[in-house]
Symmetry: C2
């Protein structure tokens, strides 16, 4: 195929006319397809149905420490659930607190504690004139929604294939004590699938922030969500690296089983230093008498240990790989050599990132919508929904059936081509 950049105006016009015909044909089909949602498919959820029988009326309802999981108590989680999440987070069980089903809720609560009470005796952020967070971009829209909700100013930090731009991160946090945090998805980042390099993790752990209460929000959301084996997703242990660097209190790590067991009924937790755990528990003991320990026991009995989780995740990968490959192959087949954008082939996680020609993302999403294919809104992976180049589109291949996904990917490529040709014709 000839690259659009090398076409004459006439060739581009001819191409546009052809693309409009094809686009119209898709529009006439009245499609209703969705590649917007990073959620597991029904087939994936079916993988974990036996979890529901892991605890039943015959089960002895005591945790390893003798606690009756049906009753009050056990604020920080039962030991076997701590061990399970510790395995996922590469943490020690004693570094872990197990909460309810949503790691996002734990992150929200952790930011809220910074706002209202302050960490480890520091001034609550709500008493300060200005609070800022660093936001590696593109990133996870719900992280940015939390910081925006609390009125925290967000600063974009570009991502490379090794993680956030650490030169920029180092400069900013050492200079500005209003910067209180950074959002990180260190493994198979949302949306690019970037795995932070060892150097990135080490530099992160060795930050010298101006603010004593600066925290790394290490959202290990895809800790075990490999598509092609765990060897592609090795990251250094941030808790250990922070300790080594003399910054033991600088990180909160989060994880959940939302995409391991059930998105609507998993368990979630966080890991941190002894001082941070004690500080968090001061609020948690006021906030609740304890989280759902029956579900913690259910997960511990079903998965047994970290190996059990890893074996289970291979089944998820077997369902996800064909979906990712179908989209990637369609992009390759339809867009290769056209100068109409680039994309990343991730080794894990839940997304494919498409980088359109600058200024085309919003138009592509709009065209797709008009043809019955819902995509994540352009701009969503950026703070305030503003992609400065209007080029990043997050594709979520997990939820549709293979048939729907194939069709949606075809429609997507037509929209990409059409928007790109329109753009070249403008110039």
């Amino acid at each position: 195929m000839q690259a659009y950049a090398s076409m004459t105006k006439e060739q581009l016009q001819e191409e546009e006319a052809k693309l409009r015909r094809i686009y119209k044909e898709y529009q006439d089909k009245g499609l209703k397809l969705d590649m917007s949602r990073g959620k597991p498919s029904a087939e994936q959820l079916d993988l974990t149905m036996d979890l529901l029988n892991a605890v039943d009326k015959e089960t002895v309802m005591s945790a390893e420490n003798g606690l009756d999981v049906r009753n009050y108590g056990g604020l920080d989680g039962i030991p076997e659930a701590k061990r399970l999440l510790a395995g996922m987070m590469d943490a020690k069980p004693e570094q872990v607190i197990v909460c309810g089903n949503s790691s996002l809720n734990i992150m929200y609560d952790t930011v809220a504690r910074g706002m209202i009470f302050g960490y480890l005796g520091e001034t609550p952020w709500c008493k300060l004139d200005k609070v800022k967070f660093l936001c590696p971009v593109p990133g996870y829209d719900r992280h940015f929604a939390v910081t925006e909700h609390f009125g925290i100013e967000m600063i974009n930090v570009p991502m490379s294939e090794d993680g956030p731009d650490m030169d920029m991160v180092e400069d900013l946090v050492s200079e500005d004590d209003a910067i209180k945090g950074i959002w990180c998805v260190p493994k198979y980042s949302n949306p690019q699938g970037v795995v932070y390099s060892d150097e990135t993790v080490r530099r992160m752990a060795n930050l010298k922030p101006a603010a004593k209460d600066f925290r790394i929000f290490w959202d290990n959301a895809y800790a075990v969500h490999h598509l092609y084996g765990a060897e592609n997703g090795q990251i250094l242990n941030i808790l250990e690296e922070c300790e080594k660097a003399g910054n033991p209190d600088m990180v909160f790590e989060f994880a959940s089983t939302s995409k391991v067991s059930f998105a609507g009924g998993g368990i979630a937790g966080f890991a941190a230093s002894p001082a941070n755990l004690a500080d968090a528990k001061k609020s948690m003991t006021i906030q609740t008498i304890g989280y759902d320990k029956v579900n913690q026991l259910r997960h511990a009995k079903y998965f047994k240990d970290f190996d059990g989780i890893m074996k289970h995740m291979e089944k998820h990968a077997a369902l996800l790989r064909p979906r990712f490959e179908l989209v990637l192959n369609t992009l390759e087949k339809e867009l290769s050599g056209l100068d109409a954008g680039t994309w990343i082939s991730p080794k894990g996680g839940y997304f494919i990132t498409f980088e359109a020609v600058e200024g085309c993302a919003t138009r592509i999403v709009e065209l797709a919508k008009q043809a019955g294919v819902v995509l994540t809104p352009a701009g969503a992976p950026y703070p305030y929904g503003k992609d400065p180049k209007d080029s990043i589109i997050r594709i979520a291949p997990s939820y549709p059936t293979l048939e729907d996904l194939g069709l949606a990917a075809e429609v997507f490529t037509v929209c990409v081509k059409l928007a790109t040709v329109e753009k070249y014709l403008e110039k």
Copy 2:
């Protein structure tokens, strides 16, 4: 028995010597008994074991609205769970949001929203110099812990057998716009078991607070926790009464199945006006992608409807009644006519309130502790842990076995007598 008040000093000294001998005998037994915890017994938890089989690997995992409960979505709860909690709260299903397992956590989050974001566009409380809550006393220590944690000043309001002193409540809230809330347990109040009279509920709903963002925190914790039938625990519908009074947004009602199904694995929710629900959801949609809907479905399938809950609660009552009666009979037998304190026979809830002679509560709890019987700390049912008369002791009869409870109650009465005689001898 002769009342202590009418004894001569010599008689009192003789009584004291006798009581010290009895007390010493109990001490020598090396008892380890506990009447401090308002939590269900293992027998009660056993009542609900079939809940664990209500959802299993054969279950169709769709809610009534078609939502796959295993997946993300459904922020405000599945319809059948809303209906279940609506029944408990005497609310309409559309007035209800179902959350995780802990109603305390919902109350905490609700106060936190007032602090950080403000209700319905009002100034966030953290921006104000002073925020106050009214606290009917004696009351629930964990309510007071929440408000204390947020730095909210607490004002004691005396309880009568009809509920809080409404003259005082009306005067205070109409005069002082720093008063932003009142904690209420309207049915079988913690600890006294008071059921708010119709007049109290109506006056509450008709308050004319100086603060637009004043809210009644209506913790209907014992909504269905009758000991002698539902007819003893009828209260007016606060949501309806607030609507009638032109104050639809003035109340948040809370409830959970913690003492219906499992304290460590139930479901909880809240009910409020459309405006309050929409306002709460603005934060909730940032805070979480959704609560555990698998457990919501499990509860809905097991209990089916409000009648199912009411029938189940009769089984709880059958286990709890003998415990309450054992303690009450022991108090009657040992303390009647002694002028050593009074007590309330509740018709529901989880506690018996003992009102000692002024200045004796701390001493009684201390004596009991030294004899191996743990009681809720004196002062706990008051803000800041300070009982101005040092007279209220909360007895929790639910958790111990009947045998242990009988012994603990005997020890308790000896401690009451001894502390009272000591007190009379001081005078």
